[in-house]
Symmetry: C2
Subunit: 198 residues, 2 copies
């Protein structure tokens, strides 16, 4: 990219290392950044560095936070006897957006995947088991409905069952508003198996 000056090509190549940003988008972003007000560039840049340096895992649920304990775990309004296990902080945010879940979470930061060499020790499972030594009524497994998510769900349920704590799995089936015609067979069969009495 020697038709750009070195600082521009440096910025383009740093931006192009981000996920989902190809060379074209990186170029567009770079030229946008060069034309942005100086303070805004500095705000963006320091937001990155300070988030990277100050964010760590919540000591309780392992979600990303800048406090010792995340706001959800610290809240007295939440039901601390119900733990929903999710793969990552974005999945936690997805359930928080519903505004209806009143329990707390546990963030695994991944799912078991023999293909990618990710074993039970590589995700935050030990931390979950430690939490189960306190008073817990139910563990709701909300890992993704992918191969890895299902394998992780199975693994966790086998670990938790002997403790006598109730273990549940969020339902999988046809999404609300989904048209059966466009839904894959595995989901259709899953929805059939999971049918409920009306």
């Amino acid at each position: 990219m020697d038709y750009y000056s070195s600082q521009i090509s440096n910025l383009i190549s740093e931006l192009a290392r981000l996920p989902g940003i190809g060379t074209k988008s990186a170029q567009r972003l770079a030229f946008h950044i060069i034309n942005m007000p100086r303070e805004q560039v500095e705000k963006l840049s320091s937001a990155m560095v300070s988030a990277r340096n100050n964010i760590h895992y919540c000591k309780e649920c392992c979600t990303l936070t800048d406090d010792d304990i995340c706001p959800i775990c610290a809240s007295a309004k939440r039901d601390h006897r119900t733990i929903m296990v999710v793969e990552n902080a974005r999945d936690l945010a997805a359930y928080e957006k519903t505004g209806k879940y009143e329990g707390v979470y546990h963030v695994l930061h991944g799912a078991i995947s023999p293909m990618l060499g990710i074993g039970p020790a590589d995700i935050r499972l030990k931390e979950l088991l430690l939490r189960l030594q306190k008073d817990v009524d139910e563990v709701i497994i909300a890992t993704n409905s992918s191969l890895e998510g299902e394998a992780t769900a199975m693994y966790i349920s086998k670990l938790v069952k002997p403790t006598g704590i109730r273990v549940t799995r969020i339902a999988s089936g046809v999404p609300v508003g989904g048209d059966l015609e466009y839904i894959d067979e595995v989901t259709l069969l899953r929805a059939l198996d999971g049918r409920i009495e009306l």
Copy 2:
């Protein structure tokens, strides 16, 4: 976004201000940045700030550069008597990638657009006219083939013609490899009007 800690939501909202990055992508990027090696975050962040602070217009052709004069204007190998006028630095890069153009450039940083309130004084036209006082053989207008690009081309040609310097416009027509069936009517008519003898 109070289901994320303040530093994460701050990073997400700063990222979401970039063009083409919605809330979902900003979330994905933010979590990626938090998990990136610290040095890489610092490299990206300082690349932004230093590009923003050190990049300015080339004194000759107005492209973005960190030198006084950009490498193309400074090169003795280029034909300084042929000036290609482009709307922005990305268009310059597009022609440089062909590796065949040997002249120099002039970057307007925009196009005349009465709709957006961009007049001739808002783009780098004065700088172009100043350059024409030196020895120039030809001005090739390579603004985009959009309404604004065409209006700008017309405007420039009217300014340059009285000086006696040759003014040309890059051809517009069917793109190489383009299937006529999928090409809009305006382009088809333009290609017909611009037909050349074989």
